[in-house]
């Protein structure tokens, strides 16, 4: 029972803060709401017996990345969003129609699903969420995709540096 309550709180937090992130007009408040959402998701990871992923979620997303957002907001100023001419406004009815259809479809699917573990308690999968298990998985079984991902990230970082450099040189040339 306690687990269901905790899940309810965390899930509601994730959705509520996520919605607030999109709806707040002040970028600063939106960033704070984003922290709340990311922390709720970290809590959900913890409930899934994945403490390592939960803590990494906090370190990487909830602290490092949002700090970068705040840093940018600090330099650009906390200006509230201005509403521009919304060209899609006449089509809003279709958007709501899509929402209604989605809710209807989701309730039918959830009501009739026969997926294993959907209604009954899931089976115990053993230790897959600890730091040791994840490390072993990365360096044993999934080493090629893991290294490929780090290569892709390295290329992306180098490209970002190069682009920024060109922009700086362009400014000085003016």
């Amino acid at each position: 029972m306690g687990e269901e309550i905790a899940f309810g709180i965390l899930a509601a937090g994730a959705i509520g803060f996520g919605t607030a992130t999109v709806l707040f007009k002040s970028p600063l408040r939106a960033a704070v709401a984003l922290i709340g959402s990311l922390l709720s998701v970290a809590g959900l990871f913890l409930m899934l017996a994945a403490p390592f992923v939960a803590v990494i979620q906090i370190i990487v997303y909830a602290s490092a990345i949002v700090v970068m957002f705040l840093f940018v907001i600090a330099y650009l100023g906390d200006r509230p969003v201005e509403y521009s001419q919304d060209r899609l406004a006449p089509l809003a009815a279709f958007g709501w129609l899509a929402v209604i259809v989605l809710v209807a479809m989701a309730s039918v699917v959830i009501g009739s699903s026969k997926l294993p573990g959907f209604r009954d308690r899931p089976e115990d999968v053993g230790d897959i969420g600890s730091a040791q298990a994840i490390g072993r998985a990365f360096l044993d079984h999934y080493i090629v995709p893991f290294e490929a991902a780090s290569l892709v990230l390295l290329v992306a970082a180098l490209a970002a540096v190069l682009l920024a450099r060109r922009a700086i040189q362009g400014e000085q040339g003016r």
């Binding site: 002040s26 600063l28 408040r29 704070v32 922290i35 403490p51 390592f52 803590v55 990494i56 906090i58 370190i59 909830a62 602290s63 490092a64 700090v67 970068m68 705040l70 840093f71 907001i73 600090a74 330099y75 906390d78 600890s130 730091a131």
Partner: protein, 331 residues
């Protein structure tokens, strides 16, 4: 979670009160010691040797007006100090301070929360605690506060990386992220400061930056920014920022002692006293540093973090991994 709930609650209360008391007297000790360094007595009027000074400070701060600036974002301005204190106090709970003891048939671990990924969680908490500073400075609606919080954000990102890399060496040696296991691993070998002297040095430097103390106290440089992120704060909210800062100092020095100096392990005395002794030596070093070193310039701080500390930390880690790997193959 083998301990009954009441044991955990009692433990939490004891740890909390001990930490708050230590914090109060840490401030007094720092002011007195700084006074001696600067050839003046320091606060010595309230009680013998200034013994009642913390109490007097608290009473004064309680009776201050609870002021919110007109330009402030009221909600964030109010919760920011709470975030800072909550993260700092939670961090203390992860530090082990002794071997398990048995009282009335119940085995009690002498640590607030024995968590498998405790070391990582401490880093996560320090990241969350920084939000108190950043958001507080931002929500104050003052230019000095905003500059202070922008500096905090930049400094956090720069030094957290080097700090993390310096700690990975210890993780590689002890094969664990659990602080109690790291202490036990050092009991079997030697203090990791002997294996990781460079890592220890980097950790010490980065940790001064992490707790915003001189010579890295750029976020609150009084010569340029009045008081940085807490310029607009007064009364108990200001006191909460101070609490967070000093408890963070306790947490990081306890962490340094645990990771590199054998933590609570030691002969003759019980674990608490060993840990307290090691922390006291480290904290005295920090006070000494504050009294001795002038503040860095901001660009020096960033250059030092990215161009000196980070490459050395990376190199140190690389060498450690290679040596440990070779040693494992031979054994």
């Amino acid at each position: 979670m083998s301990e009954p709930v009441w044991v955990q609650i009692v433990k939490a209360i004891i740890i909390f009160f001990v930490v708050i008391t230590v914090f109060a007297y840490l401030v007094l000790i720092e002011r007195r010691t700084l006074g001696r360094f600067q050839a003046r007595p320091g606060p010595n009027r309230a009680g013998p040797a200034g013994f009642w000074q913390p109490l007097a400070d608290v009473i004064k701060l309680i009776f201050k007006e609870d002021f919110v600036p007109k330009t402030a974002d009221r909600f964030i301005y109010t919760i920011a100090p709470v975030i800072a204190v909550a993260a700092a106090v939670t961090g203390i709970a992860l530090i082990p301070f002794g071997d398990p003891i048995t009282i009335g048939g119940t085995e009690i671990k002498l640590v607030g929360a024995d968590i498998g990924v405790g070391l990582l969680l401490l880093f996560a908490l320090s990241g969350i605690g920084f939000y108190g500073l950043i958001l507080g400075g931002w929500a104050s609606g003052s230019k000095y506060s905003t500059l202070g919080s922008a500096r905090t954000a930049a400094q956090l990102v720069s030094y957290e990386v080097a700090m993390g890399l310096s700690v990975v060496g210890v993780i590689v040696l002890s094969q664990s992220l659990n602080l109690t296991e790291i202490v036990d691993a050092q009991r079997e070998t030697v203090w990791y400061v002997l294996f990781q002297p460079v890592g220890f040095l980097i950790f010490l430097i980065a940790m001064v930056a992490e707790v915003n103390r001189a010579p890295f106290d750029l976020p609150e440089a009084e010569g340029e920014l009045v008081a940085g992120y807490h310029t607009e704060y007064g009364g108990l909210k200001f006191a909460m920022f101070q609490t967070a800062e000093y408890i963070n100092l306790l947490v990081v020095s306890a962490l340094a002692a645990t990771l590199f100096l054998g933590g609570f392990a030691g002969p003759w005395m019980s674990g608490v006293w060993w840990l307290a002794l090691k922390m006291a030596v480290l904290i005295f070093g920090f006070i000494w540093l504050r009294a001795t070193m002038p503040r860095l310039r901001y660009d020096q701080l960033m250059k030092f973090g990215w161009k000196v500390l980070l490459p050395i930390a990376t190199l140190n880690l690389l060498v450690t991994i290679i040596v440990v790997g070779v040693a494992f193959q031979n054994s």
